[in-house]
Protein backbone atom coordinates (compact mmCIF):
# COMPACT_ATOMS: atom_id res chain seq x y z
CA UNK A 1 0.00 0.00 0.00
CA UNK A 2 1.18 3.53 -0.66
CA UNK A 3 -0.80 6.71 -0.59
CA UNK A 4 0.81 10.12 -0.84
CA UNK A 5 -1.53 12.84 0.30
CA UNK A 6 -0.65 16.49 -0.20
CA UNK A 7 -3.08 18.92 1.36
CA UNK A 8 -3.09 22.67 0.92
CA UNK A 9 0.70 22.79 0.83
CA UNK A 10 2.16 26.30 1.02
CA UNK A 11 5.88 26.89 0.60
CA UNK A 12 8.11 29.93 0.47
CA UNK A 13 11.79 30.57 -0.20
CA UNK A 14 13.83 33.31 1.38
CA UNK A 15 15.05 35.99 -0.97
CA UNK A 16 16.95 39.22 -0.50
CA UNK A 17 13.60 40.99 -0.32
CA UNK A 18 12.27 38.63 2.31
CA UNK A 19 10.28 35.43 1.94
CA UNK A 20 8.63 34.72 -1.40
CA UNK A 21 5.60 32.47 -1.63
CA UNK A 22 6.04 29.83 -4.33
CA UNK A 23 3.45 27.16 -3.57
CA UNK A 24 0.05 28.58 -2.80
CA UNK A 25 -1.98 25.66 -1.54
CA UNK A 26 -1.34 22.44 -3.44
CA UNK A 27 -3.75 19.58 -2.90
CA UNK A 28 -3.55 16.18 -4.55
CA UNK A 29 -3.63 12.53 -3.53
CA UNK A 30 -1.78 9.75 -5.24
CA UNK A 31 -3.66 6.59 -4.38
CA UNK A 32 -2.18 3.15 -4.20
CA UNK A 33 -0.56 2.22 -7.52
CA UNK A 34 -1.43 5.45 -9.29
CA UNK A 35 0.65 7.60 -11.60
CA UNK A 36 -0.03 11.31 -11.63
CA UNK A 37 1.48 13.72 -14.12
CA UNK A 38 2.08 17.33 -13.20
CA UNK A 39 2.45 19.67 -16.12
CA UNK A 40 3.15 23.34 -15.95
CA UNK A 41 5.11 26.22 -17.42
CA UNK A 42 8.63 27.21 -16.34
CA UNK A 43 8.75 28.74 -12.93
CA UNK A 44 5.30 27.55 -11.88
CA UNK A 45 6.74 25.76 -8.85
CA UNK A 46 6.98 22.14 -9.99
CA UNK A 47 10.51 21.58 -8.67
CA UNK A 48 9.58 23.46 -5.52
CA UNK A 49 6.81 20.91 -4.94
CA UNK A 50 9.21 18.02 -5.56
CA UNK A 51 11.96 19.39 -3.32
CA UNK A 52 9.53 20.33 -0.56
CA UNK A 53 8.18 16.79 -0.41
CA UNK A 54 11.76 15.47 -0.30
CA UNK A 55 12.69 17.98 2.43
CA UNK A 56 15.26 20.27 0.82
CA UNK A 57 16.30 22.82 3.48
CA UNK A 58 15.97 25.75 1.08
CA UNK A 59 12.17 25.53 1.13
CA UNK A 60 10.13 26.65 4.08
CA UNK A 61 6.78 25.00 4.59
CA UNK A 62 4.33 27.70 5.64
CA UNK A 63 1.17 25.64 5.61
CA UNK A 64 -0.54 22.39 4.75
CA UNK A 65 0.50 18.79 5.14
CA UNK A 66 2.08 15.86 3.34
CA UNK A 67 1.51 12.31 4.48
CA UNK A 68 2.71 8.94 3.21
CA UNK A 69 0.38 6.17 4.29
CA UNK A 70 -0.80 8.47 7.04
CA UNK A 71 2.68 9.27 8.36
CA UNK A 72 3.59 12.96 8.64
CA UNK A 73 6.29 13.40 6.01
CA UNK A 74 6.99 17.03 6.89
CA UNK A 75 8.05 16.03 10.41
CA UNK A 76 10.74 13.73 9.03
CA UNK A 77 14.34 14.54 8.17
CA UNK A 78 15.40 14.17 4.54
CA UNK A 79 16.89 10.72 5.04
CA UNK A 80 13.91 9.56 7.11
CA UNK A 81 11.62 10.47 4.22
CA UNK A 82 13.71 8.34 1.89
CA UNK A 83 13.68 5.47 4.35
CA UNK A 84 9.91 5.88 4.69
CA UNK A 85 9.65 5.17 0.96
CA UNK A 86 9.96 8.46 -0.93
CA UNK A 87 12.32 8.86 -3.84
CA UNK A 88 13.10 12.01 -5.81
CA UNK A 89 14.67 11.76 -9.24
CA UNK A 90 16.13 15.23 -9.56
CA UNK A 91 15.90 17.64 -12.44
CA UNK A 92 19.59 18.36 -11.93
CA UNK A 93 21.29 15.41 -10.21
CA UNK A 94 24.22 16.46 -8.04
CA UNK A 95 27.85 15.49 -8.63
CA UNK A 96 29.67 13.95 -5.67
CA UNK A 97 33.40 13.86 -6.50
CA UNK A 98 35.44 10.94 -5.22
CA UNK A 99 32.43 8.81 -4.25
CA UNK A 100 31.99 5.89 -6.61
CA UNK A 101 28.56 4.95 -7.90
CA UNK A 102 29.08 1.46 -6.46
CA UNK A 103 29.87 2.83 -2.99
CA UNK A 104 27.01 5.32 -3.20
CA UNK A 105 24.45 2.71 -4.24
CA UNK A 106 25.56 0.24 -1.59
CA UNK A 107 25.49 2.91 1.12
CA UNK A 108 22.03 4.07 0.05
CA UNK A 109 20.65 0.53 -0.20
CA UNK A 110 22.05 -0.32 3.23
CA UNK A 111 20.53 2.81 4.74
CA UNK A 112 17.11 2.17 3.22
CA UNK A 113 16.92 -1.54 4.02
CA UNK A 114 18.56 -1.19 7.42
CA UNK A 115 21.03 -3.92 6.48
CA UNK A 116 23.73 -4.42 3.88
CA UNK A 117 22.57 -6.12 0.69
CA UNK A 118 23.80 -9.65 0.00
CA UNK A 119 27.08 -9.17 -1.78
CA UNK A 120 26.66 -11.72 -4.54
CA UNK A 121 23.17 -10.81 -5.68
CA UNK A 122 23.79 -7.09 -5.15
CA UNK A 123 26.59 -6.79 -7.68
CA UNK A 124 24.39 -8.59 -10.17
CA UNK A 125 21.45 -6.32 -9.34
CA UNK A 126 23.54 -3.19 -9.80
CA UNK A 127 25.02 -4.29 -13.08
CA UNK A 128 21.58 -5.39 -14.27
CA UNK A 129 19.97 -2.06 -13.36
CA UNK A 130 22.76 -0.07 -15.00
CA UNK A 131 22.61 -2.28 -18.06
CA UNK A 132 18.84 -1.88 -18.44
CA UNK A 133 19.35 1.86 -18.40
CA UNK A 134 22.05 1.48 -21.04
CA UNK A 135 24.88 2.46 -18.67
CA UNK A 136 27.83 0.11 -19.00
CA UNK A 137 29.37 -1.44 -15.91
CA UNK A 138 32.32 1.02 -15.86
CA UNK A 139 29.85 3.56 -14.47
CA UNK A 140 29.87 1.82 -11.11
CA UNK A 141 33.53 2.80 -10.61
CA UNK A 142 33.02 6.44 -11.64
CA UNK A 143 32.30 9.24 -9.21
CA UNK A 144 28.59 9.89 -8.70
CA UNK A 145 27.31 11.96 -11.64
CA UNK A 146 30.73 13.53 -12.18
CA UNK A 147 31.35 14.03 -15.87
CA UNK A 148 28.09 12.25 -16.73
CA UNK A 149 26.23 13.69 -19.69
CA UNK A 150 22.80 15.15 -18.96
CA UNK A 151 21.13 12.01 -20.28
CA UNK A 152 23.43 9.70 -18.32
CA UNK A 153 22.57 11.54 -15.11
CA UNK A 154 18.85 11.01 -15.74
CA UNK A 155 19.33 7.34 -16.54
CA UNK A 156 21.40 6.97 -13.39
CA UNK A 157 18.47 8.38 -11.40
CA UNK A 158 16.16 5.74 -12.82
CA UNK A 159 18.70 2.99 -12.14
CA UNK A 160 18.60 4.14 -8.50
CA UNK A 161 14.80 4.05 -8.60
CA UNK A 162 14.91 0.41 -9.65
CA UNK A 163 17.48 -0.56 -7.03
CA UNK A 164 16.18 1.41 -4.06
CA UNK A 165 12.58 0.37 -4.72
CA UNK A 166 10.68 3.18 -2.92
CA UNK A 167 6.92 3.32 -2.40
CA UNK A 168 6.43 6.60 -4.22
CA UNK A 169 8.72 8.10 -6.84
CA UNK A 170 8.73 11.78 -7.71
CA UNK A 171 10.32 12.32 -11.09
CA UNK A 172 11.23 15.94 -11.72
CA UNK A 173 11.58 16.47 -15.45
CA UNK A 174 13.38 13.20 -15.86
CA UNK A 175 12.42 13.44 -19.54
CA UNK A 176 14.00 16.80 -20.29
CA UNK A 177 17.28 16.77 -22.14
CA UNK A 178 16.80 13.20 -23.36
CA UNK A 179 16.92 12.16 -26.99
CA UNK A 180 14.18 9.85 -28.21
CA UNK A 181 16.13 6.63 -27.55
CA UNK A 182 17.04 7.67 -24.03
CA UNK A 183 13.46 8.77 -23.43
CA UNK A 184 12.26 5.27 -24.33
CA UNK A 185 14.86 3.65 -22.07
CA UNK A 186 13.93 5.90 -19.15
CA UNK A 187 10.20 5.35 -19.75
CA UNK A 188 10.68 1.60 -19.78
CA UNK A 189 12.53 1.88 -16.47
CA UNK A 190 9.68 3.86 -14.95
CA UNK A 191 7.13 1.40 -16.34
CA UNK A 192 9.02 -1.53 -14.84
CA UNK A 193 8.78 0.25 -11.52
CA UNK A 194 5.05 0.88 -11.98
CA UNK A 195 4.46 -2.80 -12.64
CA UNK A 196 5.58 -3.57 -9.12
CA UNK A 197 2.79 -3.89 -6.55
CA UNK A 198 1.28 -0.64 -5.30
CA UNK A 199 3.92 1.86 -6.48
CA UNK A 200 2.99 5.52 -6.79
CA UNK A 201 4.54 7.93 -9.28
CA UNK A 202 4.43 11.69 -9.45
CA UNK A 203 5.69 12.53 -12.89
CA UNK A 204 6.64 16.17 -13.29
CA UNK A 205 7.11 17.27 -16.84
CA UNK A 206 7.08 20.22 -19.12
CA UNK A 207 6.28 18.30 -22.27
CA UNK A 208 3.60 15.78 -23.24
CA UNK A 209 6.16 13.67 -25.11
CA UNK A 210 6.90 11.31 -22.22
CA UNK A 211 3.17 10.67 -21.67
CA UNK A 212 3.15 8.70 -24.92
CA UNK A 213 5.26 6.10 -23.14
CA UNK A 214 3.97 6.44 -19.60
CA UNK A 215 0.21 6.70 -19.37
CA UNK A 216 -0.82 8.61 -16.26
CA UNK A 217 -4.00 7.96 -14.31
CA UNK A 218 -4.41 11.63 -13.52
CA UNK A 219 -3.02 14.78 -15.12
CA UNK A 220 -2.71 18.03 -13.15
CA UNK A 221 -2.11 21.37 -14.76
CA UNK A 222 0.16 23.34 -12.45
CA UNK A 223 0.18 27.11 -12.70
CA UNK A 224 1.47 29.77 -10.35
CA UNK A 225 2.08 27.51 -7.39
CA UNK A 226 -1.11 25.48 -7.45
CA UNK A 227 -3.14 22.93 -9.36
CA UNK A 228 -5.27 24.80 -11.90
CA UNK A 229 -7.06 21.79 -13.33
CA UNK A 230 -7.04 18.03 -12.97
CA UNK A 231 -8.30 15.39 -15.33
CA UNK A 232 -7.59 12.16 -17.12
CA UNK A 233 -4.89 11.50 -19.72
CA UNK A 234 -6.96 13.42 -22.28
CA UNK A 235 -6.06 16.62 -20.45
CA UNK A 236 -2.51 16.12 -21.69
CA UNK A 237 -3.80 16.09 -25.27
CA UNK A 238 -5.57 19.34 -24.68
CA UNK A 239 -2.34 20.89 -23.32
CA UNK A 240 -0.47 19.52 -26.30
CA UNK A 241 -2.87 21.30 -28.65
CA UNK A 242 -3.46 24.53 -26.75
CA UNK A 243 -0.51 25.03 -24.40
CA UNK A 244 -0.83 26.73 -21.02
CA UNK A 245 -2.19 29.93 -22.50
CA UNK A 246 -5.73 29.61 -21.17
CA UNK A 247 -4.52 29.02 -17.59
CA UNK A 248 -2.30 32.04 -17.36
CA UNK A 249 -3.63 35.23 -15.87
CA UNK A 250 -4.73 37.58 -18.62
CA UNK A 251 -1.82 39.94 -18.68
CA UNK A 252 -1.45 43.24 -20.50
Amino acid sequence: MSTLEITDLAVSVSTEDGPKQILKGVTLTIDDGQTHAIMGPNGSGKSTLAYSIAGHPKYEITGGSVTLDGEDVLAMSVDERARAGLFLAMQYPVEVPGVSVANFLRTAKTAIDGEAPKLRTWVKDVNGALDRLNLDSTFSQRSVNEGFSGGEKKRHEIAQLELLDPKVAILDETDSGLDIDALKIVSEGVNRFREREGKGVLLITHYTRILRYITPDVVHVFVDGKVAESGGPELADKLEAEGYESYLPVAR
Binding site: S77, V78, D79, L88, V96, G98, T107, A108, L164
Partner: protein
Protein backbone atom coordinates in the same frame (compact mmCIF):
# COMPACT_ATOMS: atom_id res chain seq x y z
CA UNK B 1 76.62 14.46 -16.92
CA UNK B 2 75.49 17.71 -15.44
CA UNK B 3 74.06 20.46 -17.53
CA UNK B 4 73.50 23.28 -15.11
CA UNK B 5 76.39 25.38 -13.93
CA UNK B 6 77.90 24.31 -10.63
CA UNK B 7 76.47 27.21 -8.70
CA UNK B 8 73.50 28.77 -10.45
CA UNK B 9 72.94 32.37 -9.48
CA UNK B 10 70.48 32.53 -6.59
CA UNK B 11 67.56 34.79 -7.09
CA UNK B 12 67.11 37.08 -4.15
CA UNK B 13 63.62 36.54 -2.92
CA UNK B 14 62.38 37.43 0.53
CA UNK B 15 60.14 34.38 0.47
CA UNK B 16 63.06 32.09 -0.16
CA UNK B 17 66.22 33.57 1.31
CA UNK B 18 69.56 32.04 0.23
CA UNK B 19 70.71 29.08 2.29
CA UNK B 20 73.17 29.72 5.08
CA UNK B 21 74.46 27.76 8.04
CA UNK B 22 75.36 30.99 9.81
CA UNK B 23 72.80 31.62 12.55
CA UNK B 24 73.49 35.34 12.26
CA UNK B 25 71.77 35.17 8.88
CA UNK B 26 68.63 33.85 10.53
CA UNK B 27 67.68 36.15 13.39
CA UNK B 28 64.93 35.09 15.74
CA UNK B 29 61.61 36.06 14.13
CA UNK B 30 59.31 38.65 15.63
CA UNK B 31 56.22 37.32 13.90
CA UNK B 32 55.95 40.27 11.55
CA UNK B 33 58.11 38.66 8.85
CA UNK B 34 56.20 37.48 5.81
CA UNK B 35 57.42 33.91 6.35
CA UNK B 36 56.41 33.89 10.01
CA UNK B 37 53.25 35.94 10.02
CA UNK B 38 50.90 32.94 10.08
CA UNK B 39 52.76 31.04 12.79
CA UNK B 40 51.82 31.48 16.47
CA UNK B 41 55.39 31.91 17.77
CA UNK B 42 54.41 31.57 21.42
CA UNK B 43 53.28 28.03 20.86
CA UNK B 44 56.79 27.08 19.68
CA UNK B 45 57.58 26.84 23.40
CA UNK B 46 60.91 28.58 23.13
CA UNK B 47 62.15 26.26 20.43
CA UNK B 48 63.68 29.07 18.39
CA UNK B 49 65.85 30.19 21.33
CA UNK B 50 68.16 27.43 20.16
CA UNK B 51 69.04 25.82 23.47
CA UNK B 52 71.37 22.87 23.08
CA UNK B 53 69.83 19.52 23.90
CA UNK B 54 70.90 15.95 23.48
CA UNK B 55 67.44 14.47 23.79
CA UNK B 56 66.50 12.10 20.97
CA UNK B 57 63.41 10.60 19.47
CA UNK B 58 63.12 6.87 19.67
CA UNK B 59 63.93 5.26 16.34
CA UNK B 60 62.37 2.08 15.06
CA UNK B 61 63.36 1.25 11.51
CA UNK B 62 62.57 -1.34 8.90
CA UNK B 63 65.18 -1.36 6.16
CA UNK B 64 64.95 -3.38 2.98
CA UNK B 65 67.97 -5.47 2.04
CA UNK B 66 70.81 -3.28 0.76
CA UNK B 67 69.63 -0.06 2.42
CA UNK B 68 71.88 1.15 5.21
CA UNK B 69 71.52 3.60 8.04
CA UNK B 70 74.54 5.19 9.71
CA UNK B 71 75.61 8.32 11.52
CA UNK B 72 77.84 11.06 10.14
CA UNK B 73 79.04 14.36 11.53
CA UNK B 74 77.32 17.59 10.58
CA UNK B 75 80.37 18.50 8.46
CA UNK B 76 80.22 15.18 6.63
CA UNK B 77 76.53 15.70 5.95
CA UNK B 78 77.35 18.99 4.26
CA UNK B 79 80.09 17.42 2.21
CA UNK B 80 77.67 14.71 1.14
CA UNK B 81 75.36 17.27 -0.40
CA UNK B 82 73.07 18.44 2.38
CA UNK B 83 70.94 21.35 1.21
CA UNK B 84 71.58 24.33 3.44
CA UNK B 85 69.03 25.92 5.77
CA UNK B 86 66.83 28.73 4.46
CA UNK B 87 65.49 29.71 7.83
CA UNK B 88 66.25 29.67 11.51
CA UNK B 89 64.74 26.35 12.63
CA UNK B 90 66.65 24.37 9.99
CA UNK B 91 69.85 26.29 10.76
CA UNK B 92 69.45 25.56 14.46
CA UNK B 93 68.84 21.88 13.77
CA UNK B 94 71.98 21.70 11.60
CA UNK B 95 74.12 23.35 14.24
CA UNK B 96 72.70 21.62 17.34
CA UNK B 97 71.90 18.08 16.19
CA UNK B 98 75.38 16.77 16.99
CA UNK B 99 75.45 14.68 13.82
CA UNK B 100 73.21 13.43 11.07
CA UNK B 101 71.50 10.13 10.36
CA UNK B 102 72.49 8.98 6.90
CA UNK B 103 70.26 6.64 4.94
CA UNK B 104 71.90 5.18 1.87
CA UNK B 105 70.04 3.55 -0.98
CA UNK B 106 72.72 2.30 -3.38
CA UNK B 107 72.54 3.03 -7.09
CA UNK B 108 70.26 0.75 -9.09
CA UNK B 109 68.79 -0.92 -6.01
CA UNK B 110 65.09 -1.52 -6.55
CA UNK B 111 63.37 -2.03 -3.20
CA UNK B 112 60.12 -3.98 -3.17
CA UNK B 113 59.52 -3.20 0.48
CA UNK B 114 59.39 0.33 1.85
CA UNK B 115 61.90 1.86 4.22
CA UNK B 116 59.84 2.56 7.34
CA UNK B 117 61.19 4.88 10.01
CA UNK B 118 59.09 5.39 13.10
CA UNK B 119 60.14 8.28 15.28
CA UNK B 120 58.48 8.77 18.61
CA UNK B 121 58.92 11.20 21.45
CA UNK B 122 58.12 10.80 25.13
CA UNK B 123 57.17 14.24 26.28
CA UNK B 124 56.86 17.76 24.98
CA UNK B 125 59.42 18.74 27.64
CA UNK B 126 62.05 17.09 25.42
CA UNK B 127 63.73 19.40 22.95
CA UNK B 128 65.02 17.37 20.02
CA UNK B 129 67.25 18.58 17.20
CA UNK B 130 67.22 16.29 14.18
CA UNK B 131 69.38 16.09 11.10
CA UNK B 132 68.72 13.52 8.40
CA UNK B 133 70.31 12.91 5.04
CA UNK B 134 68.96 10.49 2.48
CA UNK B 135 71.11 9.52 -0.45
CA UNK B 136 69.28 7.70 -3.19
CA UNK B 137 71.66 6.43 -5.84
CA UNK B 138 71.15 6.74 -9.59
CA UNK B 139 68.32 4.58 -10.98
CA UNK B 140 67.41 3.28 -7.56
CA UNK B 141 63.75 2.81 -6.72
CA UNK B 142 62.52 3.15 -3.17
CA UNK B 143 59.64 4.16 -0.94
CA UNK B 144 60.50 5.87 2.33
CA UNK B 145 57.83 6.21 5.02
CA UNK B 146 58.42 8.29 8.15
CA UNK B 147 55.91 8.19 10.96
CA UNK B 148 56.09 10.69 13.82
CA UNK B 149 54.24 9.90 17.03
CA UNK B 150 54.26 10.76 20.72
CA UNK B 151 55.31 14.21 21.88
CA UNK B 152 58.39 16.40 21.70
CA UNK B 153 59.52 19.79 20.62
CA UNK B 154 61.10 18.47 17.48
CA UNK B 155 63.01 20.53 14.95
CA UNK B 156 64.66 18.78 12.03
CA UNK B 157 66.51 19.46 8.83
CA UNK B 158 66.21 16.70 6.24
CA UNK B 159 67.73 16.42 2.79
CA UNK B 160 66.99 13.96 0.02
CA UNK B 161 69.68 13.78 -2.62
CA UNK B 162 68.12 11.86 -5.45
CA UNK B 163 70.40 10.47 -8.15
CA UNK B 164 69.83 10.58 -11.89
CA UNK B 165 66.93 8.46 -13.07
CA UNK B 166 65.97 7.37 -9.55
CA UNK B 167 62.35 6.92 -8.49
CA UNK B 168 61.55 7.88 -4.94
CA UNK B 169 58.32 8.00 -2.98
CA UNK B 170 58.59 9.79 0.34
CA UNK B 171 55.75 9.89 2.85
CA UNK B 172 56.02 11.78 6.11
CA UNK B 173 53.19 11.17 8.55
CA UNK B 174 52.68 13.53 11.48
CA UNK B 175 50.51 11.66 13.95
CA UNK B 176 51.77 13.41 17.08
CA UNK B 177 50.08 13.72 20.44
CA UNK B 178 48.03 16.86 21.00
CA UNK B 179 50.82 18.91 22.58
CA UNK B 180 53.74 18.17 20.23
CA UNK B 181 55.57 20.91 18.35
CA UNK B 182 57.22 19.99 15.06
CA UNK B 183 59.26 22.22 12.78
CA UNK B 184 60.62 20.36 9.82
CA UNK B 185 62.34 21.14 6.60
CA UNK B 186 62.50 18.54 3.87
CA UNK B 187 64.62 19.61 0.90
CA UNK B 188 64.90 17.47 -2.18
CA UNK B 189 67.43 17.64 -4.95
CA UNK B 190 66.01 15.83 -7.96
CA UNK B 191 68.52 14.22 -10.28
CA UNK B 192 68.38 14.35 -14.03
CA UNK B 193 65.30 12.46 -15.27
CA UNK B 194 64.56 11.34 -11.73
CA UNK B 195 61.00 11.19 -10.36
CA UNK B 196 60.21 12.12 -6.77
CA UNK B 197 56.91 12.08 -4.97
CA UNK B 198 56.86 13.66 -1.53
CA UNK B 199 53.73 13.43 0.60
CA UNK B 200 53.05 15.09 3.94
CA UNK B 201 50.25 13.70 6.03
CA UNK B 202 49.54 15.79 9.12
CA UNK B 203 46.91 14.92 11.70
CA UNK B 204 48.44 15.41 15.12
CA UNK B 205 50.42 17.95 17.12
CA UNK B 206 49.67 21.34 18.61
CA UNK B 207 51.83 23.14 16.08
CA UNK B 208 53.30 21.57 12.98
CA UNK B 209 55.14 23.68 10.44
CA UNK B 210 56.78 21.84 7.56
CA UNK B 211 58.67 22.86 4.48
CA UNK B 212 58.92 20.69 1.40
CA UNK B 213 61.42 22.24 -0.99
CA UNK B 214 62.45 20.86 -4.30
CA UNK B 215 65.21 21.80 -6.71
CA UNK B 216 66.73 20.05 -9.68
CA UNK B 217 70.16 18.71 -10.47
CA UNK B 218 69.60 18.63 -14.20
CA UNK B 219 66.88 18.62 -16.83
CA UNK B 220 63.99 16.19 -16.97
CA UNK B 221 63.38 15.85 -13.24
CA UNK B 222 59.80 15.41 -12.05
CA UNK B 223 58.55 16.29 -8.60
CA UNK B 224 55.13 15.70 -7.14
CA UNK B 225 54.44 17.30 -3.77
CA UNK B 226 51.32 15.98 -2.13
CA UNK B 227 49.78 16.73 1.21
CA UNK B 228 46.82 15.74 3.29
CA UNK B 229 46.01 17.35 6.61
CA UNK B 230 43.20 17.40 9.12
CA UNK B 231 43.22 20.10 11.78
CA UNK B 232 41.09 19.79 14.89
CA UNK B 233 40.21 22.42 17.48
CA UNK B 234 43.21 24.48 18.49
CA UNK B 235 45.65 22.83 16.07
CA UNK B 236 47.99 24.80 13.84
CA UNK B 237 49.14 22.86 10.76
CA UNK B 238 51.33 24.77 8.33
CA UNK B 239 52.76 23.46 5.07
CA UNK B 240 55.15 25.54 3.02
CA UNK B 241 56.14 24.36 -0.42
CA UNK B 242 58.84 25.66 -2.67
CA UNK B 243 59.51 24.36 -6.16
CA UNK B 244 62.67 25.96 -7.48
CA UNK B 245 62.79 25.35 -11.22
CA UNK B 246 66.50 25.83 -11.74
CA UNK B 247 66.83 23.47 -14.70
CA UNK B 248 65.06 23.14 -18.05
CA UNK B 249 62.26 20.69 -18.84
CA UNK B 250 61.58 19.93 -15.20
CA UNK B 251 58.14 19.58 -13.73
CA UNK B 252 56.51 20.17 -10.39
CA UNK B 253 53.02 19.24 -9.36
CA UNK B 254 51.74 20.31 -5.98
CA UNK B 255 48.45 19.03 -4.60
CA UNK B 256 47.51 19.62 -0.96
CA UNK B 257 44.12 18.99 0.55
CA UNK B 258 43.00 19.69 4.06
CA UNK B 259 39.99 19.52 6.32
CA UNK B 260 39.39 21.67 9.39
CA UNK B 261 37.02 21.29 12.29
CA UNK B 262 36.62 22.80 15.72
CA UNK B 263 37.28 26.14 17.36
CA UNK B 264 40.70 27.53 16.51
CA UNK B 265 41.69 24.92 13.95
CA UNK B 266 44.14 26.73 11.71
CA UNK B 267 45.86 25.56 8.57
CA UNK B 268 48.33 27.41 6.40
CA UNK B 269 49.41 26.45 2.94
CA UNK B 270 52.05 28.47 1.11
CA UNK B 271 52.89 27.34 -2.39
CA UNK B 272 55.92 29.09 -3.81
CA UNK B 273 57.11 28.35 -7.29
CA UNK B 274 60.13 30.01 -8.85
CA UNK B 275 60.83 29.59 -12.54
CA UNK B 276 64.37 30.74 -13.25
CA UNK B 277 65.68 32.14 -16.52
CA UNK B 278 67.39 28.89 -17.45
CA UNK B 279 64.28 26.83 -16.69
CA UNK B 280 62.88 26.71 -20.19
CA UNK B 281 60.17 24.24 -21.09
CA UNK B 282 59.18 23.50 -17.54
CA UNK B 283 55.73 22.62 -16.32
CA UNK B 284 54.27 23.45 -12.94
CA UNK B 285 50.88 23.23 -11.36
CA UNK B 286 49.93 23.75 -7.76
CA UNK B 287 46.66 23.29 -6.03
CA UNK B 288 45.36 23.59 -2.49
CA UNK B 289 41.83 22.75 -1.42
CA UNK B 290 40.40 23.08 2.04
CA UNK B 291 37.16 21.78 3.41
CA UNK B 292 35.94 23.68 6.44
CA UNK B 293 33.66 21.46 8.48
CA UNK B 294 32.64 23.74 11.33
CA UNK B 295 32.65 27.38 12.37
CA UNK B 296 35.67 28.83 14.12
CA UNK B 297 38.31 27.45 11.72
CA UNK B 298 40.72 29.32 9.55
CA UNK B 299 42.38 28.06 6.38
CA UNK B 300 45.03 30.33 4.87
CA UNK B 301 46.09 29.46 1.36
CA UNK B 302 48.64 31.47 -0.60
CA UNK B 303 49.94 30.37 -3.99
CA UNK B 304 52.83 32.39 -5.32
CA UNK B 305 54.45 32.12 -8.72
CA UNK B 306 57.63 33.97 -9.73
CA UNK B 307 58.43 33.63 -13.41
CA UNK B 308 61.69 34.77 -14.98
CA UNK B 309 61.32 33.17 -18.38
CA UNK B 310 58.48 33.19 -20.86
CA UNK B 311 59.57 29.92 -22.42
CA UNK B 312 57.50 27.57 -20.31
CA UNK B 313 55.17 24.71 -21.16
CA UNK B 314 52.66 25.48 -18.50
CA UNK B 315 52.24 27.11 -15.13
CA UNK B 316 49.10 27.33 -13.09
CA UNK B 317 47.63 27.26 -9.67
CA UNK B 318 44.33 26.86 -7.91
CA UNK B 319 43.32 27.46 -4.35
CA UNK B 320 39.90 27.01 -2.85
CA UNK B 321 38.36 26.85 0.58
CA UNK B 322 34.81 25.64 0.92
CA UNK B 323 32.30 24.27 3.34
CA UNK B 324 30.37 21.07 2.93
CA UNK B 325 28.25 21.40 -0.16
CA UNK B 326 24.63 21.41 0.98
CA UNK B 327 23.43 20.10 -2.37
CA UNK B 328 25.74 17.10 -2.14
CA UNK B 329 24.58 16.36 1.39
CA UNK B 330 20.94 16.75 0.34
CA UNK B 331 21.39 14.42 -2.61
CA UNK B 332 22.91 11.72 -0.43
CA UNK B 333 20.32 12.17 2.31
CA UNK B 334 17.52 11.98 -0.22
CA UNK B 335 18.79 8.45 -0.84
CA UNK B 336 18.25 7.51 2.78
CA UNK B 337 21.78 8.18 3.98
CA UNK B 338 21.99 9.90 7.39
CA UNK B 339 23.60 13.31 7.55
CA UNK B 340 26.64 11.92 9.43
CA UNK B 341 27.13 9.21 6.86
CA UNK B 342 26.64 11.73 4.06
CA UNK B 343 29.35 13.95 5.52
CA UNK B 344 31.61 10.95 5.85
CA UNK B 345 31.06 10.04 2.20
CA UNK B 346 31.69 13.57 0.95
CA UNK B 347 34.86 13.89 3.03
CA UNK B 348 36.00 10.48 1.90
CA UNK B 349 35.41 11.61 -1.67
CA UNK B 350 37.26 14.86 -1.08
CA UNK B 351 40.44 13.02 -0.06
CA UNK B 352 39.98 9.88 -2.18
CA UNK B 353 41.85 10.92 -5.32
CA UNK B 354 44.73 12.27 -3.26
CA UNK B 355 45.02 9.13 -1.14
CA UNK B 356 45.08 7.08 -4.33
CA UNK B 357 47.84 9.32 -5.72
CA UNK B 358 50.12 8.71 -2.75
CA UNK B 359 50.63 5.32 -4.31
CA UNK B 360 51.74 3.46 -1.19
CA UNK B 361 49.17 0.66 -1.01
CA UNK B 362 49.70 -0.29 2.63
CA UNK B 363 49.06 3.30 3.68
CA UNK B 364 45.92 3.86 1.62
CA UNK B 365 43.50 1.98 3.78
CA UNK B 366 44.90 3.40 7.02
CA UNK B 367 44.70 6.92 5.68
CA UNK B 368 41.10 6.47 4.67
CA UNK B 369 40.31 5.09 8.10
CA UNK B 370 42.20 7.84 9.87
CA UNK B 371 40.35 10.50 7.92
CA UNK B 372 37.07 8.93 8.94
CA UNK B 373 38.12 8.61 12.55
CA UNK B 374 39.13 12.26 12.56
CA UNK B 375 35.69 13.16 11.37
CA UNK B 376 34.02 10.98 13.97
CA UNK B 377 36.30 12.25 16.68
CA UNK B 378 35.21 14.39 19.54
CA UNK B 379 37.64 16.50 21.48
CA UNK B 380 38.76 13.64 23.70
CA UNK B 381 39.64 10.97 21.16
CA UNK B 382 43.05 9.37 21.59
CA UNK B 383 45.84 10.52 19.31
CA UNK B 384 48.28 8.08 17.80
CA UNK B 385 45.51 6.13 16.12
CA UNK B 386 47.18 6.25 12.78
CA UNK B 387 50.42 4.75 14.01
CA UNK B 388 48.72 1.92 15.84
CA UNK B 389 46.54 1.10 12.86
CA UNK B 390 49.72 0.99 10.81
CA UNK B 391 51.34 -1.43 13.21
CA UNK B 392 48.65 -3.97 12.51
CA UNK B 393 49.21 -4.22 8.79
CA UNK B 394 52.68 -3.11 7.76
Amino acid sequence: MTVTAAAPARVESHLNPPPSYDLADHPAPTGREEVWRFTPLKRLRGLLDGEPSDACLEWDTTLPEGVTLSTVTAEEARALGELGPNERPAALAASLSGGAALLDVPAELECDEPVVIRLSGNTVEDLVWGQLLYRIGAHAKVTIVLVHTGAARYCAISTFVVGDGAQVDIVSVQDWDDDAVHLGRDAIRVGRDARVKHTSVSFGGDLVRLHANVEYDGPGGEAELLGLYFADAGQHLEHRLFADHNAPRTSSNVNYKGALQGQGAHTVWIGNVLIRKEAEGIETYEENRNLVLTDGCQADSVPNLEIETGEIEGAGHASATARFDDEQLFYLQSRGVSVEEARRLVLHGFFADLIRKIGVPFLEEQLTETVEKELAKNMLAAPGEFASALEGSA
